[in-house]
């Protein structure tokens, strides 16, 4: 039973890590390699407000952290990525360089050591079918599922969401209908960065705010997206569950230190069998052309 329960928790954690990355790529075809840096930045800003201003309310600190991260995401597009849009290698290099500068800047600015952490929303554990699980992880699962539902509703029933989907499906046709491509890219970067920040607020209370986590989050986000198929929402969820359960099963029946190997092996196998990922269509489209 613990495999099932912690497998679900692990899978939702992975999907939350990858959510922002997938959203930006699916809408704007921009691989945002600053994703991990935005994740840590959000956590650090929230920590700053909580610890440097005595009595500052936690919910406000969270909102400020996510808002600032969203603004940084929008600025990354407006100031840098807009100039190199369409040049995929340049987009990767530029966004990765920005992420690197942000993370190492945080380290240089004082984010060093092991004592930076965010408080859990609720303390204590509950026993589910004989398995102890803490409230924070239950909240992560609940909020994670809700976020996916909200994003579905947003992209299907909201004007801005529909515009984002329009751009994602056919950029030229959407532009002919008056949808501003650059503006949707700004919005997608802002929302994607905000989602990275939101994931950080949920997940960082389980561990610590450290620079290295930013790099790990980026690796997991890429792993999930490559296996699921770049830009595919369904793929992201399915891939998260494949990696999430594979890791827990590895820990239970093989050995814990093969967990990362399993994730990377899954990428290689997927690329060999289905180069576009489980639900991606890029390679197939290229071959058809």
């Amino acid at each position: 039973m613990e495999i099932l329960i912690y497998g679900i928790v692990n899978s939702v954690i992975l999907s939350l890590m990858a959510l922002g990355f997938t959203l930006v790529y699916s809408i704007s075809r921009l691989p945002n390699f600053a994703h991990g840096a935005l994740y840590i930045t959000s956590g650090y800003i929230t920590w700053l407000f909580l610890n440097k201003f005595e009595g500052f309310p936690y919910p406000f600190a969270i909102i400020i952290g996510i808002l600032i991260t969203s603004i940084i995401g929008a600025l990354i597009y407006r100031l840098v990525l807009i100039r190199i849009r369409g040049m995929e290698i340049s987009e990767i290099i530029a966004s990765y360089a920005i992420g690197l500068a942000m993370l190492e800047g945080l380290r240089w600015g004082g984010l060093r050591g092991m004592t930076f952490t965010l408080p859990t929303f609720m303390t204590g554990t509950v026993n589910i079918f004989g398995v102890d699980i803490d409230y924070q992880r239950i909240i992560i699962v609940g909020v994670g599922v809700s976020i996916f539902l909200l994003l579905y509703l947003f992209t299907h029933f909201n004007r801005i969401g529909l515009a984002l989907r329009g751009i994602a499906q056919d950029e030229r046709a959407a532009m002919m209908l008056g949808i501003d491509s650059d503006m949707t890219a700004v919005v997608s970067l802002a929302i994607g960065s905000g989602l990275a920040g939101f994931a950080a607020i949920l997940l960082l209370p389980l561990g610590n705010i450290i620079v290295e986590v930013g790099y790990n989050v980026l690796i997991f986000a890429i792993a999930v997206c490559v296996i699921g198929g770049l830009g595919s929402w369904v793929g992201t969820i399915v891939a998260s569950f494949i990696i999430g359960f594979a890791q827990i099963l590895t820990e239970a029946f093989l050995s814990t230190h093969y967990q990362m190997v399993v994730a990377l092996l899954a990428i290689i196998i997927t690329l060999l069998i289905k180069p576009s990922g489980l639900f991606g269509k890029q390679k197939e489209l290229e071959e058809r052309v």
């Binding site: 092991m114 004592t115 554990t125 102890d132 803490d134 389980l206 561990g207 450290i210 290295e212 820990e251």
Partner: protein, 419 residues
């Protein structure tokens, strides 16, 4: 107007004179400190060295040739604890200190074992006396000195190593067995060389003593979920959780252990739990964890009269208690070097090596003398005999020294759910 100009000139003259009147005008003896400054074992060593240098300079400096020479410090970031940074970076940093900064002695790192072992050849080539004070726990360091004394005689280490730490852990766990009847252990280590070796060595040592080692789990760096292993340890009746991890995420393990109220006592080498801020970082869930700080004085304790004097001076200068491994040893290394230079009455490497082999001082964590063949600090459970470890337990937000018994300030407490 003329008077105002006179005042300004006079003020400038005074300002320029202040530094020269406070300290000796003699040429300073320069200490090079190659440290991974972005990490605990780097910055706490830097602070320890700077504090000792400041104290010595305030007292006049180092007596040599009938004169008093001040000390100066050149810190360089080796980055060797950063993931993916090659050993060559640390070697370049050490070489820069020697050739470019013209340092007279080396104190501190390199901090990672691989880098420190590689740097030994460099120290030998340039005949630079070095006292290693932080990070490096491998016994290979002092074995290398013993195996080729003439080549590596410039290398000293005033901190403990894995071999000694294992003995300390086993002795303490045996004490716990006598007191509480514990005989089942579960080992959880990080997937890095020193932690895997530490876990294996502990597994072997405990098995030989008649303990049942249920399992040994190895976790990749960055793991934040330990639930499957912890649940397994609970189901199989583990009474001791032996941990060896230097990643920050190990705080998550303690949080989960506390939330699950597992009937096992966590003991080990847990980097994240060394700092005073660990209590706040875990919201108090790290209570009852027993941690080896490698040397005494890395947390408040009354090992020798100098221990609390050092802790108070550190708090006054840096605004917080000594944070962890590397602090007291780096501080003491400066005093050991001072004693050796004064004994040799020279800064010549050969003379200082001989003097370091002979000096015997009562320091922050006990009697400090080097083994003449290995240049390794001589350890002991009695501060009158040798260098004493700092094994602490987190109790009500404080780090309380619980081992060795001669310097313990409190007894090992069990969590209420274990009683």
């Amino acid at each position: 107007m003329r008077r105002l100009i006179c005042y300004i000139i006079f003020s400038f003259v005074i300002l320029f004179l202040i530094p020269f009147t406070s300290y000796s005008a003699e040429k300073p003896i320069v200490i090079g400190a190659p440290l991974s400054t972005a990490f605990l074992y780097g910055w706490d060593a830097e602070r320890g060295i700077k504090l000792a240098v400041e104290e010595i300079n305030k007292a006049g400096g180092v007596a040599i040739g009938g004169k008093k020479r001040p000390l100066a410090v050149e810190v360089i970031d080796t980055r060797d604890l950063e993931p993916g940074v090659p050993v060559s970076e640390a070697l370049l940093a050490v070489e820069k200190l020697i050739l470019d900064k013209k340092v007279d002695f080396i104190i501190g790192g390199p901090v990672r074992s691989e880098a420190a072992l590689a740097a030994m050849d460099l120290l030998s080539k340039h005949k630079k006396v070095s006292i290693l004070t932080t990070g490096v726990l491998t016994p290979a360091y002092h074995k290398k000195v013993a195996d080729n004394y003439e080549k590596y005689k410039y290398c000293f280490r005033n901190t403990s190593h894995v071999g000694v730490m294992m003995g300390e852990f086993v002795t303490m766990l045996e004490d716990l067995r006598k007191a509480h009847g514990f005989n089942k252990a579960y080992i959880m280590v990080q997937d890095v060389a020193h932690a895997r070796a530490g876990g294996e060595a502990m597994k072997k040592a405990l098995t030989e003593k008649g303990w049942t080692v249920i399992d040994m789990k190895i976790y990749p760096t960055g793991t934040v979920d330990y639930s499957v292993g912890l649940i397994d340890s609970g189901k199989k009746g583990a009474q001791v959780l032996f941990l060896w991890m230097d990643m920050p995420e190990s705080a998550a393990l303690l949080k989960q252990w506390s939330d699950m109220k597992l009937k096992s006592l966590p003991v080990g080498f847990v980097n994240a739990a060394e700092q005073p801020g660990f209590w706040k970082a875990t919201g108090g869930k790290g209570e009852y964890l027993i941690v080896n700080l490698v040397n005494g004085g890395n947390a408040p304790a009354k090992i020798t009269p100098w221990t609390m004097k050092f802790v108070d001076a550190y708090k006054k200068k840096w605004g917080l208690e000594p944070e962890g491994y590397g602090t007291s040893s780096s501080y003491m290394a400066v005093y050991q070097l001072k004693a050796a230079i004064e004994k040799a009455n020279s800064t010549d490497s050969e003379a200082v090596v001989k003097a370091l082999e002979d000096i015997d001082i009562m320091g922050v964590y006990g009697r400090m003398r080097f083994d003449k063949k290995t240049h390794q600090i001589i350890p002991s459970y009695d501060p009158k005999e040798g260098a004493v470890t700092g094994i602490i337990q987190w109790q009500a937000g404080k780090r309380v020294q619980v081992f060795p018994p001669k310097v313990a300030e409190g007894k090992v407490l069990l969590p209420p759910w274990m009683k």
